[in-house]
């Protein structure tokens, strides 16, 4: 049995670690690329959301390396993602790929069923203690990985050479992926911190105390975690001199979705529903309510702008998007919504980001100048 799984940003590092520490053969599919999307789109239903198309592309690319079993998490709705496992199984079967799909979820709420599925994947040689230890270590890695990502977020606008910063990030990821001890993981984080400090010390005082614009990124989890899907929005904003923060980090999602809230993750997503209450008091599936809550939280923390990203036709995010104008009005914080699908181009995204950042910078530099969307829109006859 060779296990493979769909990509979602840095998740591959964590999943690879989990299976390798259980001595299960694992195939990491090639990272998301144009080819992945093309392969996936060919098989997918036309109106399915973007993550499904990329997932299928990942599986097809993993076939070349001998993968025969897919592991994916599930859910009980109402977001479509919960049904991905069964959908992908049927699509791959009909397309002639001999894949076995294991959905990691309690089938019909039965924890025993979930245990059976884990046992099936882990084989008979691993004891439950070992499985739990592996899970704990993988989780720890995801937390530290998020810490590194957050460091990079604040380093991007402050360090002079963007290429160097990206290289530092890539190196750190590789180091974390390879190390199999807790100390090794922690050391990598320390190494990243020191490298950033070192580079910062070479700057002149004006540059060193530069206060960048801050933009909060919210939206559908796959799109905000996966840089290919969001057309590298975080890197792009970093290069434009913006410090980025994100509503959901990988470990926060793992803690909430996989461990059912038993582990908080690097940044817990528990507080978001409370923040969302005045605008959206009920959960709407996926992370719709979290999106609204995160927008409120970012606004309260004084972020200069907020960007929401989601794949075309994502149901929970559409609900969130129709509520966000109220948040924008209440806190006077500009919110931009970006929708991605398989036709999203880099240049279009870049233009919109530059325009948005320009707008925020102008509001910042001209004190007392208040952005008035109404005036702009009235030109369009609304």
């Amino acid at each position: 049995m060779k296990v493979t799984f769909p990509h979602m940003g840095n998740a591959w590092i964590v999943i690879q670690t989990l299976f390798e520490s259980l001595n299960v053969e694992v195939v990491v599919p090639p990272t998301n690329s144009k080819r992945t999307l093309q392969l996936g789109t060919r098989l997918s239903p036309e109106s399915a959301c973007l993550p499904l198309k990329l997932n299928l592309g990942n599986y097809i690319e993993a076939v070349n390396e001998g993968a025969d079993t897919i592991v994916i998490t599930g859910g009980i709705g109402p977001c479509r993602f919960g049904y991905y496992g069964e959908m992908e199984r049927q699509i791959l079967r009909d397309a002639g790929y001999a894949y076995d799909v294991v959905t990691l979820e309690p089938p019909d709420g039965s924890l025993l069923g979930l245990a059976g599925r884990i046992r099936y994947l882990a084989g008979s040689k691993n004891s439950w203690v070992k499985i739990l230890k592996a899970l704990r270590f993988a989780y720890l890695k995801s937390v530290e990985l998020d810490r590194v990502e957050d460091l990079i977020h604040s380093a991007r606008p402050r360090l002079p050479d963007p290429r160097e910063t990206e290289k530092l990030y890539e190196d750190a990821k590789i180091r974390i992926a390879q190390t199999m001890t807790e100390i090794g993981v922690k050391d990598t984080v320390r190494w990243v911190q020191e490298s950033i400090r070192e580079r910062q010390s070479g700057l002149n005082p004006i540059e060193r105390f530069y206060k960048p614009l801050r933009i909060g990124i919210i939206g559908e989890i796959y799109t905000i975690l996966d840089p290919y899907t969001s057309v590298g929005i975080e890197e792009e904003l970093g290069r434009l001199g913006v410090e980025v923060d994100r509503s959901i980090y990988l470990s926060g999602w793992v803690g909430n979705h996989v461990f059912q809230g038993l582990a908080p993750g690097y940044r817990s997503i528990k507080s978001y529903p409370g923040h969302a209450k005045p605008y959206l008091p009920h959960f709407v599936g996926g992370h719709g309510q979290e999106t609204v809550g995160a927008a409120v939280k970012f606004a309260q923390e004084g972020f200069d702008g907020i960007i929401q990203i989601f794949p075309l036709s994502c149901m929970p995010e559409i609900v969130a998007a129709s509520v966000l104008p109220k948040v924008q009005k209440a806190y006077k914080v500009p919110i931009m919504t970006l929708i991605v699908d398989e036709h999203t181009g880099h240049a279009g995204m870049q233009t919109r980001l530059e325009a948005f950042v320009d707008l925020l910078e102008r509001a910042n530099s001209e004190l007392g100048f208040e952005q008035n969307r109404g005036d702009v829109l009235s030109v369009g006859g609304r």
Partner: protein, 346 residues
């Protein structure tokens, strides 16, 4: 007190319950007029761009409710155990507040059958306090609402007509006395039988679907998802490894599967709308099954720009194909790539 009930989305499935509920409480329910051009236009203006056609129509119908004391927009989270409604149902009323005319309050109640009948009743009783009604009143109203809903669903067998049933419920004071007079139409075996599969708020919305049922009825007998009995739906869901978790999708897929295996059905038309999340999955599953069983199958996607000529052309072509297949008993495939391998008439 007059409560406005928009004639869109949840209206098509759950109106009888609410009609009975408010009737028992002595509250007058006013529905918006059937969709017309202006309602659609108003809806497009006020609803969010990304959302689907039924929600845009709902936004239009909300604005069409004039001279009411309040607008009723329930949050229907779930109508049976282990399922949800579409996420967009869960976001009502917040996502539609921009469409509500200023000055008219919105009444809402959360309906969640996942937590059982007791919770539903409790939520309704909290809602009743807003209306100034006591607990016993609400319990009575709840029972009557369920009775009406059941009656409506039971009557949706053969010979049932949506417009007719609803007209009956809307003329409330007369009550539901003579609902048994519907005649069972004579089934002519030579006649084409087409199954129209899709959400009730699309299939029963003649303005949005360009009177699809009416057009079909001219040429064929039409079977609807809503006619299929619950037990049959459940029986046809067993082939799935994982249960569907949307109640409407379950009904559509179960009934759709029944139509695919039913030899009396000559063809299936799936009516969906652009951006429908649940349909994007269920439609694919059903299309796969139909292809496997060589059942003629066509998918129609509606949006606010649907043109009549395009629809009519596709419909005629589909019906011609199905008819030819029926008359010559040949195998005209439902899918291009199978044209040569299974067909003996072409």
């Amino acid at each position: 007190m007059k409560i406005g009930f928009p004639r869109a989305l949840f209206y098509f499935d759950y109106f009888p319950f609410w009609a009975g509920f408010f009737y028992s409480l002595g509250i007058e329910v006013v529905t918006s007029p059937p969709t017309h051009r202006q309602i659609m236009e108003q809806g497009l203006k006020k609803a969010s761009d990304e959302t689907c056609l039924p929600l845009k129509l709902l936004a239009g119908h909300i604005q069409a409710l004039k001279e009411v004391d309040a607008i009723f927009l329930p949050r229907i989270v779930s109508v049976e155990a282990d399922t949800y409604s579409c996420p967009k149902f869960l976001g009502i009323p917040e996502s539609l507040l921009p469409a509500v005319p200023s000055g008219i309050p919105v009444l809402t109640v959360t309906l969640n059958w996942r937590k059982g009948k007791r919770q539903v009743l409790k939520d309704l009783q909290v809602f009743g306090l807003q209306l100034g009604k006591g607990k016993t009143d609400i319990r009575k109203a709840f029972t009557l609402g369920q009775e009406w809903q059941k009656r409506y669903q039971d009557s949706s067998g053969a010979g049932w007509d949506f417009e007719e049933s609803v007209r009956e419920i809307e003329s409330v004071p007369k009550g539901l006395k003579n609902s048994q007079n519907c005649t069972v139409p004579h089934h002519d075996t030579n006649h084409l039988r087409i199954a129209l599969v899709g959400h009730s708020y699309l299939t029963h919305e003649p303005y949005a679907n360009l009177n699809l049922i009416g057009r079909l009825r001219k040429k064929a007998e039409v079977e609807l998802v809503q006619h299929v009995k619950q037990e049959e739906v459940d029986n046809h869901l067993l082939g799935l490894r994982k249960k569907l978790f949307w109640n409407l999708a379950k009904q559509i897929f179960g009934a759709g599967n029944k139509f695919v295996t039913d030899p009396k059905i000559d063809g299936i038309i799936y009516l969906s709308c652009f951006g429908c999340g649940t349909d994007s999955m269920v439609q694919e599953l059903l299309a796969r099954f139909a292809r496997e069983q060589h059942k003629p199958y066509m998918m129609i996607t509606l949006d606010e720009h649907s043109g009549e000529a395009g629809l009519v052309t596709r419909l005629e072509a589909f019906l011609d194909m199905v008819e030819r297949r029926k008359v010559r008993e040949g195998y005209v495939s439902a899918h291009g790539e199978r044209l040569d391998c299974d067909s003996n008439t072409l």
